[in-house]
Symmetry: C2
Subunit: 349 residues, 2 copies
């Protein structure tokens, strides 16, 4: 069985998303680089490597990620009727917050590589990763409050609240790993904090800076939250059933690491006999054969976790679409935001 959200439900005549992302990246990168250049010498060196702008030998970098959050930020300014440029300070802030959290996450998770390059803590040590992340978080607020928008303080407050939501999600993620009785609602709330909150804020911060009315801001936040939740659900499906050639992760990787992902949690909690067997398997430690991992995947499926996660992802994307339609946005940017949402979630699972 393979499916996609887009194939079953939504596939409008789409703007060219890779070109759209490239255009937004081009707009935001100079401001982001200027902000990062203000960091202390050590943090700056680490951040410029982390962002993919330079390599360890000083040569030009092989580039960074897709920069989805900055793109959402500038598009949200345009969607609210302002210029894309007016969203740039928000784009810089959300990208700094995202990367602050990556630096600290890589350290907490002990990950030595990100995108096939060493992580900051593995190259410069744990204290450097802590300090560089801290500095990026402070810089996010600082650069936003320097923006000329009369709504910059409101945007900075949103960034602070969002950062705490992000941390709540991460703290729950840490706590859940030690618990066997995590409920589906708790797990959804964790994902809303860890993945949804910053995407929601990214999709709204440009509109906040533009002084958009409350219902527009709220609609954009709901859109970003729906896309974020759908993204996480699809990501969790791919973590079990994804094609290693596409995901770049080992086959059945989330089962290998005993991750309490959303489909797993659903089956454990609501999957009857299959769920109970799955719970027993999760509680056993040690590496297990691929045959056993395949058996666990079958238990998740028999417990209904696969079907539920796919349906929930579709429901989240439907809700995101509705929020976008009802937010009173300019047509062009709204279509671009919609296309970006599909692009993020429309993967084969």
């Amino acid at each position: 069985m393979t499916a996609t959200l887009g194939a079953t439900k939504m596939n409008p005549a789409s703007p060219d998303v890779p070109a759209l992302l490239a255009r937004c990246r081009e707009q935001v990168t100079p401001a982001l680089k200027a902000a990062v250049a203000r960091l202390d010498t050590a943090s700056r060196e680490q951040a410029e490597f982390h962002f993919g702008w330079v390599e360890l030998d000083g040569s030009p970098g092989r580039g960074g990620g897709k920069a989805v959050r900055p793109a959402l930020a500038v598009l949200s300014a345009a969607a609210a009727g302002a210029s894309e440029e007016s969203g740039i300070a928000g784009a810089v802030a959300v990208e700094l917050v995202h990367n602050f959290s990556l630096l600290h996450d890589d350290l907490m998770d002990g990950d030595t590589e990100r995108r096939h390059r060493p992580t900051v803590w593995s190259r410069w040590g744990a204290p450097s990763a802590i300090l560089c992340g801290d500095a990026m978080l402070a810089l996010a607020t600082e650069s936003l409050l320097e923006d000329s928008s009369p709504h910059a303080a409101q945007a900075a407050r949103l960034i602070a609240t969002t950062t705490r939501e992000l941390i709540r999600g991460q703290a729950e993620d840490v706590a859940f790993e030690r618990r066997a009785d995590v409920g589906v609602d708790e797990c959804l709330s964790m994902a809303a904090g860890k993945t949804g909150s910053l995407l929601a804020t990214s999709a709204a911060i440009g509109a906040v800076l533009a002084g958009a009315p409350e219902h527009t801001v709220r609609g954009l936040q709901e859109y970003g939250m729906g896309v974020g939740m759908a993204f996480q659900l699809v990501d969790d499906l791919l973590g079990i059933w994804g094609d290693p050639a596409v995901t770049g992760k080992p086959v059945l990787s989330d089962l290998r690491s005993r991750k309490k992902s959303l489909p797993v949690t659903f089956s454990v909690q609501r999957g009857g006999a299959a769920g109970r067997e799955l719970a027993t398997w999760l509680a056993r430690s040690g590496d297990q054969s691929e045959e056993e991992l395949r058996r666990a995947a079958t238990l998740v499926e028999q417990g209904g976790g696969r079907e539920w996660a796919a349906a929930e992802a579709r429901r989240q994307m439907d809700s995101a679409e509705r929020a976008l339609t009802g937010a009173g946005l300019a047509d062009g940017p709204r279509a671009e935001l919609a296309a970006l949402g599909h692009y993020l979630t429309d993967r084969e699972f």
Copy 2:
């Protein structure tokens, strides 16, 4: 030889500083507790223990520190002619930033105890200390931006800049430990970041919230910076020559840990033959006898580091006093700020 800054120079008819600190603490603690109560469940539990409000068994806490920074913040509002209450949001923010940095510092330094109680990382693990610190930093901005002062955004911007200065100092401190050629000016600049910057901001943030004129804010910042630098210099003197019964640290503790403190750095850089011998000693590793540590202390003294640090501390306090006098402040709060500065730096060294 023992001396104090106060005995040699300044000892005005002082307000009762412990009573002053208690009064300010009483004013600020309810708002600080209300802010901390908004943290996610895990971070809240850890923060409430860290602040000394509860013990590990859930019993009432044995209390926390002196809360110098919040006291400076409320006094600075009063010094600018506003109510002490109007400085409370600033007091909460500086105390949250201070404690964010303690949580991350304890982890980076591997310290298992603070004030004879376990540190957050040693009790709850490194990820918790990272996340709890991150959440406190975000909360500092958030709570400040919720204040009703029309100058809250300016205060939040100051907090963000200060946080980056603090991190710069900490990053330099980490980097200097690996270098043998750290200069006196570099070391002073590191101390200005690590110790001075947040005291400078604490002494000014109440005035910022009160909308005080530029020269008043600047005078208060210079005051706080001078006190912070004097405090660090005296602390470094006590780290070598302090009485263990008073400091609570082992005798010659900073030499034991080969700390490149300010007096040590001065002697290494400018202490002639004694400095060169000291540099050679510092480069040798391993525990050394108390006799050897005493010999190293003599080398710091012969290199001029002890005399220089004491003179520099006096110079910093003189400059702090001048800044306070010229800042156009209300008399009562100015005397209280001055007394608080003496209290912090007037220790036997």
